[in-house]
């Protein structure tokens, strides 16, 4: 379809465009306990067309994008492209360019759906369950993503990569009291041993939740984050350096300046990477045909480089930027004597832990935590934690040891000081 689209674009006078054909071949398996509820397969192809239109003597650039279905008739295709070209004249942004840097031939990683699915099933069957701690249900998704890209500057690439996900619900019970915990693991392919281990960890948390007492009305407490929810904290740092937030002045971080007025906190670094072992987002090129360049976006607590789409990056004066899918956080210096000092709450399960990347608000309902106080550890549940990243970053401490959660490597433990705790006893 590329050829037909290019010919039609040429016919209507459009000589600036990006075409991305994406084919997703997916296998899915849905389980109730360990019985198969439903199996699904799909093959879906989409052609995304973005047309550009220089306006006002090249000072402005119009653009419009749309999806073309493979079943579109010649007449439908013709009309869709004409509509896009017209719509592009209505949407005027300051001019920017399309990438013209050639892409080397990329490694294709065809996906063996059967092997990956089998690996997921075996890993789930290997989970040690008991009468009181067991798997409720799970859903397995194995996808092969194939992308073919071409822009009007002659930049082309083709890439194939795997993307997997498993959603797991586990139960723990004591008498009539049963609780559930939810997990969502994303990866490139299945890492069976890690998956089995992670699900067994969830079962252990479930067992603890059964004996949890209501969270005390602490009002204020230090909080240690030691699970996947901590990704939210570090995503905040990464998004504050996103070109769109910076250009729209929704982030006031500036290159060359410290991201906070540090007191005792660890000055972290964040490295943007094209690939990360078994990340579901491990491919070296972004949606606009730019090679993803490895670079620090924050180094030793100082904002260094932005990342994001070409339009916003160019507006910030950076023609050499790209979008980024993988981040590695480093720079933690705290050991146990700091992270586990004095009284603190270790929060390991939330209803939905959130950090607002624009406002910096930190919010979450507590489903499971451990209150370390006076040499004791109480298992707690209920209530909520709140605070702001602006207040937290200057004193935030991070472990040197790291843990990978799909496309992010973050400190294994993070301690935020003096957060607000709404307790229920």
């Amino acid at each position: 379809m590329f050829k037909a689209v290019k010919e039609k674009l040429q016919a209507i006078g459009c000589d600036m465009y990006e075409l991305t054909e994406q084919t997703v071949k997916a296998w899915e398996f849905y389980f109730i306990r360990h019985k198969l509820d439903q199996n699904r397969a799909s093959s879906v192809k989409t052609l995304k067309v973005k047309v550009y239109r220089p306006l006002e003597d090249g000072k402005m650039l119009g653009s419009a994008s749309g999806d073309i279905n493979p079943t579109a008739s010649d007449e439908e295709l013709d009309q869709a492209l004409k509509n896009l070209y017209y719509q592009a004249s209505l949407v005027k942004n300051p001019a920017y360019t399309l990438t013209d840097v050639p892409i080397p031939v990329l490694e294709q990683k065809p996906v063996d759906h059967a092997a990956i699915a089998e690996s997921f099933m075996n890993a789930m069957q290997a989970v040690h369950e008991t009468e009181t701690e067991r798997i409720n249900s799970y859903e397995i998704f194995v996808r092969e993503i194939h992308k073919r890209f071409e822009n009007s500057n002659g930049v082309t690439y083709e890439v194939t990569y795997p993307e997997s996900m498993i959603e797991v619900v586990v139960n723990a019970s004591r008498g009539d009291h049963e609780i559930e915990l939810y997990r969502n693991f994303e990866s490139g392919v299945c890492n069976g041993e890690k998956l089995t281990r992670d699900v067994e960890d969830a079962l252990r948390f479930g067992k603890d939740r059964l004996i949890a007492e209501p969270t005390p009305k602490l009002q204020k407490s230090d909080v240690v984050f030691s699970t996947a929810d901590a990704v939210e904290l570090y995503s905040y740092f990464a998004y504050r350096m996103n070109a769109a937030l910076l250009f729209r002045k929704l982030s006031d971080w500036s290159k060359g300046e410290a991201v906070a007025e540090y007191t005792t906190g660890d000055r972290i670094s964040i490295l943007a990477k094209a690939s990360l072992d078994n990340s579901s987002k491990s491919y070296p090129v972004d949606e606009e045909g730019a090679l993803i360049r490895e670079r620090y976006i924050i180094r030793d607590g100082v904002a260094e480089e932005s990342w994001g789409n070409r339009q916003m990056s160019e507006y910030l004066g950076d023609k050499n930027s790209s979008d980024v899918n993988n981040f590695v956080v480093s720079g933690g210096t705290a050991d146990e004597s700091v992270l586990h000092a004095g009284d603190y709450l270790e929060l390991v399960e939330f209803s939905d832990f959130q950090v607002d990347e624009v406002g910096g608000d930190v919010l979450g309902e507590i489903r499971l935590g451990y209150w370390h106080h006076d040499g004791k550890v109480d298992v707690i549940t209920g209530g909520s934690v709140s605070g702001t990243m602006q207040d937290a970053i200057p004193s935030m401490r991070c472990s040197k040891e790291t843990e990978q959660y799909n496309n992010m490597v973050i400190p294994k433990e993070t301690r935020l000081y003096n957060l607000t705790i709404t307790g229920i006893r």
Binding site: L36, R40, Q87, A114, Q311, S384, Q390
Partner: protein, 478 residues
């Protein structure tokens, strides 16, 4: 005007019938859902503008559902050769057979399910709309939305940007099985304004409001009135303080009432969760879960909203279910397969993110009934509490009836009067039966909102709407 049914789908009817017949030689049950939905998204702000002909509900494709030996399987695809339906049949059979081999290799047992009912039914529905997204003049819409962004910058105090977004989709869906032939076409639209401004401490605050409904791009023009509320809205946020955590009397505005309906009992009575024993609601049918003031409806027929379809994605006619009647939990909502497994009837709530995704039990319109109180009387009855307004997000916990709602603003009420003090943001948590059991007043009016999307867990995003009147209850705020 009637929203016309897709000519493309009408054109593939013979091919789909052939597909159903051919697959019927191998499988015990066969149905096909075909979709062709077109639309747009326009976004205008001071610093970036975009227009696209796609949004979360635009799609064109097919999903085949088959059953054999008690196992239901699906194959979704969007490339077809109308001249060769046998090729599609071979592809579907081969791909599903390859999956079966993996299941055999891993010795995976099957959750056996009976055969879906396929009672004869024919339906053709084209719902009313004033405009269609595919034919409305984009220049007029772009110009209107940009003018709102420009006006927003003039009137909203301290605004760094004013992002105005409009989208609309003309949905056409067709369901064909051996005995069923259903076609529907309808249009919905939603628009929003989001403005950002820093407070004195440099914290960025976002003011947000939206409009939505069953109908075309004409709905977006309601944003003009909405914008006039923004100067006060932003001023409230900029002057806001952090709340002192504790339990308070609260009055929820219709948006927050809808959020409670959605998170508290909406997810909790999705009956595919009953099949998995993931919802406490299964044990409470016929029991009291709220005060006498609580009556809650759920169904695509309940309101002319963004999800007011005529049949669901499994070919079941849309319904209107009374889930809670004066505080007593009556029933839940159910997709077709869950109904079969539970021995009940489907309620027309089987929804997919799009043709390529699985159907789950999902909400449509989830709405509390109105009451008899005036909002002024409700405020006057509060000793110390907050009027909560502005939905940010929510999360359910059907197994424990916990609820988390993140609310944009709380307006302090002391001794029956609004004090002018605003707190933001507010995290409202609690135990659902307590929250609903403490509802003691409900206003006479009600509103239904349908902006954004709803996920099942953290995926499978679909359009839903929710709402109700102002409600007075108690909750923990932090």
């Amino acid at each position: 005007m009637k929203a016309p049914f897709s000519p493309y789908l009408n054109g593939i009817v013979p091919w789909v019938h052939q597909l159903v017949d051919l697959l019927g030689k191998t499988y015990d049950y066969v149905s096909v859902l075909s979709t062709d939905s077109v639309g747009f998204t326009i976004q205008m702000s001071q610093r970036s503008k975009s227009v696209t002909n796609s949004n979360m509900t635009t799609e064109r494709g097919n999903v085949v559902r088959v059953a054999k030996n008690g196992l239901y399987s699906e194959y979704a695809f969007n490339e077809i050769d109308q001249e060769d339906p046998e090729a599609a049949v071979r592809k579907i059979r081969d791909e599903l057979d390859r999956q079966i081999k993996v299941l055999e290799k891993t010795k995976t047992p099957v959750y056996e399910t009976g055969l879906l009912s396929d009672e004869p039914l024919e339906l053709f529905v084209e719902k009313e709309t004033e405009q269609l997204p595919e034919t409305e003049d984009p220049e007029k819409l772009v110009s209107f939305l940009q003018s709102l962004s420009d006006r927003g910058m003039e009137i909203i105090p301290g605004a760094r940007d004013c992002n105005v977004r409009g989208m609309s989709t003309h949905i056409s869906k067709m369901f064909i099985s051996k005995n069923r032939f259903l076609r529907q076409s309808y249009v919905y639209a939603e628009g929003s304004i989001a403005s950002f401004a820093p407070n004195e401490e440099g914290e960025m605050k976002m003011a947000y409001k939206g409009v939505s409904g069953l109908g075309g791009p004409e709905i977006l023009f309601r944003l003009k009135e909405t914008l006039e509320e923004f100067p006060k809205l932003m001023q409230d946020l900029l002057s806001s303080e952090k709340i002192v955590p504790g339990e308070y009397e609260i009055i929820t505005d219709p948006g927050i009432t809808g959020l409670i309906a959605h998170e508290a009992f909406g997810h909790g009575v999705e009956m595919d969760m009953f099949v998995k024993e993931r919802a406490l609601g299964a044990k409470y049918i016929g029991q009291r879960v709220g005060s006498d003031k609580v009556t809650m409806h759920e169904g695509a027929l309940c309101a002319d909203s963004v999800t007011a379809y005529a049949f669901d994605d499994e070919g079941i006619i849309a319904g209107d279910v009374i889930e809670i009647d004066h505080g007593i939990l009556k029933t839940g909502i159910c997709d077709a397969l869950a109904a079969l497994r539970l021995g009940g009837q489907p309620t027309g709530n089987g929804k997919r993110q799009n043709f390529a995704h699985k159907a789950y039990t999902r909400m449509t319109n989830t709405i509390f009934d109105s009451g008899t109180d005036s909002v002024d009387d409700m405020i006057a009855s509060v000793k110390h509490g907050y009027l909560l307004s502005g939905t940010e997000s929510g999360m359910e916990d059907p197994k424990h009836w916990g609820i988390q709602c993140i609310v944009s603003r709380g307006y302090e009420i002391k001794d029956g009067k609004l004090t002018g003090k605003v707190v933001s943001p507010v995290i409202m948590t609690g135990y659902v039966p307590d929250l609903l059991g403490n509802i003691c007043m409900a206003s006479t009016d009600r509103r239904v909102d349908g902006n954004g999307g709803c996920g099942k867990g953290y995926k499978e995003w679909v359009k839903v709407a929710d709402g109700g009147p102002y409600l007075k209850t108690k909750a923990r705020l932090g």
